[in-house]
Assembly symmetry: C2
Homo-oligomer: 351 residues x 2
């Protein structure tokens, strides 16, 4: 179909072995010969066949990305970071989208994919998930983002600490009835839900407040879901005076519910989201911001390192989150200045 090493070898008057060596920059090739071969290859417009190379070496120079979502804001941002980093390392990106973990879906054909890629980057999928069952059976480089598992490289944020900080912020404003908008019904929650829930509860209990199931509503990580959750919360006999939403997208929906009901965010009901969505500022939404691109690129770097040096010690990196206080929690004229920020990094993650 195309021009092959053989053609280049013939045209350059050398063997295919030498062509291969020259093209891959081996030091054991006479500089003059190499130059000649390079020119010949260029002239013939030679392009190597990745399939043949893969068959011969066993390496594909591409990486599989396993993710539950592509278009959710936070996932798209992480994907972007991953793609940039892998491309910089001349690795191709093979995308595999699982779909919502709570929805019924066929298990991903990881055995098939496994032969297509040199390693996997897995985003926010619990290591114990049946989706990944096959993955850990085989010997294959894996880098985790947003989760961790024993003996596997991973990069994540301290979800528990982030949620705790958000809740403590609401408590410090004097709120005692604090509602929660979480994601999915409990069946098979996204991996980030549990730690965020634990942080929320821990902050409450430290303040001597018992968690109240009536104040917890599912928002399905969508704008609409968040809106409905907020309506249900406000419909209660004793509605909360403050709400923590596990994602900014749900918090946006909650804001809409507040607006439609004529309540002023930060005055009538305080609200804090999670993610650091680029539009949170537009809404004046307080949020726990996380470094999404960095999560992606660091996760990619972990895999690249593992590929270069298999069996090296696996790193677990915890990236810092940051509470950004805006008018949705302190009101337009809140005593806390708009720019008030409290950092929450790995250094005090254990608090």
């Amino acid at each position: 179909m195309g021009v092959t090493v053989k053609d280049v070898a013939r045209a350059a008057g050398v063997s295919t072995a030498t062509v291969s060596r020259a093209l891959r920059g081996f030091a054991t090739v006479d500089p003059e010969t190499r130059a000649h071969i390079l020119r010949t290859a260029e002239r013939l417009d030679y392009v190597g066949s990745p399939a043949a190379a893969a068959l011969s070496t066993g390496r594909t120079r591409s990486i599989g990305i396993i993710t539950p979502y592509i278009s959710r804001w936070s996932f798209a941002r992480m994907l972007s970071g991953i793609e940039r980093e892998l491309r910089a390392n001349e690795l191709d990106v093979v995308l595999y989208c699982l779909g919502d973990p709570s929805d019924p879906h066929p298990a991903p054909p990881l055995h098939r994919l496994r032969r297509r890629v040199d390693g996997f980057i897995v985003m926010s999928v619990a290591a114990e998930s049946p989706d990944l069952e096959e993955l850990f059976k085989v010997e294959v480089p894996v880098s985790l983002i947003g989760t961790s598992a024993p003996g596997v490289a991973s990069v994540l944020i301290d979800d528990t600490a982030g949620a705790r900080t958000a809740t403590e912020h609401l408590l410090s404003l004097g709120h005692r009835r604090i509602g929660l908008i979480y994601g999915r019904e409990n069946r098979d929650p996204l991996v980030l839900e549990r730690p965020r829930y634990l942080g929320f509860v821990a902050a409450l209990e430290e303040a001597g407040i018992a968690p109240d199931p009536a104040l917890e509503q599912a928002g399905h990580f969508t704008v609409e879901g968040g809106e409905e959750a907020m309506r249900r919360l406000l419909d209660a006999d004793e509605p909360p005076t403050a709400v923590f939403a596990m994602s900014d997208e749900m918090a946006f929906g909650a804001l809409r519910a507040l607006r439609d009901l004529g309540r002023e965010p930060g005055l009538d009901v305080a609200l804090v989201g999670f993610d650091g969505h680029e539009m949170a500022d537009v809404f004046g939404l307080s949020t726990v911001s996380q470094p999404l691109e960095s999560l992606g690129s660091q996760g990619a770097r972990n895999l690249v390192a593992e590929l270069a040096q298999p069996g090296r010690p696996r790193e677990v990196t915890v990236l810092p989150t940051e509470l950004i206080v805006r008018s949705s929690s302190v009101g337009p004229d809140g005593a806390t200045p708009r720019a008030a920020r409290r950092r929450h990094g790995p250094q005090d993650a254990g608090r």
Copy 2:
């Protein structure tokens, strides 16, 4: 490294050729032998090598996606639609992100990629772009989304009609000074900018209004950019009473500028965006909505069809847009009901 056809053949007591035929469901295999082979393969946990198959057949069963962005909302949505459709056809997705066309960047190594995939889906990149130069030199199946080129399958919306409809809507509300927030400086604009601009100007001129360069500001397709553009517009000697923004993300920024300046959207300044962003409703933003997932999946289907039947007539599909009127253009108590909608599909695209 792994178990191969040879192993299966030996274990099943047949030849590798028969194994290959059985595994791929050829009719010319005795049902009993096939069942036996399938069981043996299952038992040995056999997985075919895509590299070997690709080398042998010349087909890779994967598709390259060329896109300027991953995490911009509209692109992420289209990507999602593409991925779902390709996966349903058992094609793998290889993602290649170009980066902003206006920023300096190296040309994509399409010659290299070309051997990795069976075809390309190109999103919102002008066919004349130097980035694609190599692509059209080679004989390779291509499906375009958001652009079109002679003799190439493509799916897009009528950007001109969409922009015209938005502008006509503002004109019909009585506005005469209408501002524009476009994307990038003119050097190497995104492919969608030109037709949207033409639609904007056409509507103005039909109403007897000459376009005023002072009323056109770049917003770089970001929230921040949109905010700054709106500030510049309002700083003018004769500020516009209405503004059309080429993307919802820029419109959100514009809304923030209005809020910060104490102007009421829809009352003081009317605003219409473009995309149908999921958060437009939260903001009460009027917008020209486009079916992003459908653009993606239809683009994927076009490529699949081309792969199945090379040289078949290439389709150009124009999907409808829809003007959704909200309070940002008619005010909170606008005469136009909130749900007012006007469709703008292929049928009246020429209007």
